[in-house]
Symmetry: C2
Subunit: 511 residues, 2 copies
Amino acid sequence: MIGAEVVVRTLDRCGVDVCFANPGTSEMHVLSALDSAPDMRPVLVLQENVATGAADGFARIAGRPAATLLHLGPGLANGLSNLHNASRALSPVVNIVGDHATGHRRLDAPLTSDIRSLSETVSVSTRCAMPGRGIGAETAAVVSDSLGPVPGVATMLLPADAAWQEAADDIGSLPVSRAEAPEVDHGRIAQALRQPGAVLMLGHDAVRGEPLRIAGRIAAATGAALMAQTTTPVTDRGAGRVALERLPFNPDQARQRLAGAPVVVLAGARAPVAFFAYPGTPGRLTAPDTTVIELCPPEVTASDPLSALAEACGATEDPVVQPPRLPDLRGGALDAAKVGAVLARHLPEGAIVVDEAMTNGVPIAAATAAAAPHRWCQNMGGSIGYGAPLAIGCAAADPTVPVVALIGDGSAMYTIQALWTQARENQNVTTIILANRSYRILQAEVAKMDPTQRSNAMDDMLRIDAPVLDFVAMAQGMGVAADRVSTAEELDRVLRDAFVQPGPRLIEVSL
Amino acid sequence: MIGAEVVVRTLDRCGVDVCFANPGTSEMHVLSALDSAPDMRPVLVLQENVATGAADGFARIAGRPAATLLHLGPGLANGLSNLHNASRALSPVVNIVGDHATGHRRLDAPLTSDIRSLSETVSVSTRCAMPGRGIGAETAAVVSDSLGPVPGVATMLLPADAAWQEAADDIGSLPVSRAEAPEVDHGRIAQALRQPGAVLMLGHDAVRGEPLRIAGRIAAATGAALMAQTTTPVTDRGAGRVALERLPFNPDQARQRLAGAPVVVLAGARAPVAFFAYPGTPGRLTAPDTTVIELCPPEVTASDPLSALAEACGATEDPVVQPPRLPDLRGGALDAAKVGAVLARHLPEGAIVVDEAMTNGVPIAAATAAAAPHRWCQNMGGSIGYGAPLAIGCAAADPTVPVVALIGDGSAMYTIQALWTQARENQNVTTIILANRSYRILQAEVAKMDPTQRSNAMDDMLRIDAPVLDFVAMAQGMGVAADRVSTAEELDRVLRDAFVQPGPRLIEVSL
């Protein structure tokens, strides 16, 4: 059996059975081996950042890693920014990068580059298979690395000769060690949460299922405000779920919200810091006299620490949950709130929403807060262009529900190639493009600048209106049915249809 | 004056007056400062690999660097693969990457990453400006670094606070040191070239203008075969130019071509190696008993070394040049040779051709070898997705002539966003998409594989025909006029029109 087949069979045996691939010459033997494991499902993408973003989405919804298959250093480079996002989401990803044959590297052929250094910027581990030696063990170790102690991107460099030479098929899955919650004084934290203005801030695992319900009980028992950090990989929300306030992205608003908090207790969340620095303002969003206590870090399972805290709080009552409520549907020209209202009416139970709506995200999230129960995904690393790829991975992980991708027009253009894979796989992904013809989030940054430091050049560089981007044409060009809407009535009609028809759809919303 | 303005003014003073930008929050002050230097021209792109590929193209045609403006580590990551290509082309690029403010980095905000490690994989130098201290000097040094001793990508990390704080505007351009040709025995090389089967292999500077003419004289005087390495950044070719045989990309063909050569003399070329390794075949393309002599390495100016060699050869006669000759125009369904024949008829003098036609490139190059004199650009690093971005940079550097980008359909999808910038800038770029609905170059690799190692999965993953990519729709969606043609007559008509009308055009050729 050749090494490539050992890799594929080992992946399959370790529970990795989806591979998002954009291969090249050095990956031909792996590509060929992809049907040597009966469960392995290869998914072709047209650019590598689509593969890596899809692997992030798959991991978030399936709770287990998918593999990627990338071509040498430049292929990895093209996929790095969504690996950065995946790494920040603590999404397990088995990142396989083909390399030149071991003897070919020293010839410095055109595609040679320092793959290891690239990998190490995003990976929890970077391993390299060697021809004929322990390839199964190395592959199993990569899967295990991706899952813990801190889940993330685990990378394997696979030289072409390691793939094409004979190798022993000798390994199954390896044990996974997960990071454990540190010991904390639950009684002290319970007491702290009873102070007026106290905040229990949740992230990662703590905004899902049972941990979220426990957190809701703690909030009810202590009177603490229940808050999610600014972005979380997947949040369970909607009717019947514990309602969560979210820390604003805008650092002034965030700082103001947290100003009076005597304590912020972190459960799966990180101590809140601003995305960016601004002249003369602190980067930390908590006030200097606020005590920040970590109940459990993002990488651990939050249910045990939260249960222990709930016990210390005497929180035995059921949590307060969001009653079903749909916003009024106002007709006419669309804005973000109306998009949210229409979406709330049609969102089916269990649906997955991928939020890359940027400036429009907050009103849409508000409008859908009490819609049918659904899952909401956000960008964890801040690198734009994650939405359409993530939707591919989400749909691959759960084909039974609609996936809705809310994407700003500027954001959509980073990875617009993703639409083709949605069509090729006939995925139930509905992409809603929020077309304001600008980098609106940067225009908001301009407003924060010293007026003497603004310029016409800047204004011009933040508009993407000339020529106008026609997303309907682009989507149709990639085999995705598409519509343009400008009123709530039109969106209502098209969205209802999109959720009924199988396959992908794109809706360009003119704002 | 704030640091951002010092950066922009220093760039301008050092002759860098074009900036390909996809900025974010940390670059707002630089963006704003772009109109503080009267000559500085910002060019907006929708994805970073378009910016970096454009900077490569600009450098190749203008002979001087453009700047990029990228957003943090993920922005750099998105642009890395075309920086890899630029680095292999020895194209000077001033690569400016915004970073978090110095105090913000330690907070590990979502977009924080190891920018320096990313940069060092492609850069000749990586500098970091510090707030208020020597920003002008640092900027001038980056420009100087990009130009020599070995030209390439020089990167400056610019923390946001270095951009927004006051700084002294105190520096003009710095001297540039260029690598010098090593001392060689010209008499010995002259003698070696007189052996039957000897090859003079040219690359980089040696396939341009006067150096190419001198090389032609040497070939005529010695009887050596004149050959270009497989890819060169810009080749001067067409009627009236010295004709060049090109070393084949296919390693078997290349090895066969060089098999009988007693000597290969390199002028601006690198010792030929295969792009990829294959089981049981050597990576070096010269035979073991072939002597390889370097006259001058790629990074030096080739005219002096070639002149000295010409003198040693007694090569005083004018070189043999390509007489004008147009291939017969055959009508009907198109293939690569017919595309080349039509192109040859219409290519205006001085035109720039960007070749990312992959499997179709060789017949098109053959058909245009004796067309009106033109410049031909190739991919130096092998990372796909360079064609459309490079065309932007070429057109920015020389708006007076048409730029023709020959791009395979698979290749085009890596950086399809580039079309929008061509429209925004109203560039005279004609993109010819060679649509064979597959990764044909990888299908050719399949043919080289052991038949027992091929699979259905592989065949399926090398087809991009379902759904069919409609490049006409995609181009129109980005504001580029577009046509689909399937016969030589149609291409003839559309191409003639494309070269007359200003602005960009896309032609999808169904093969």
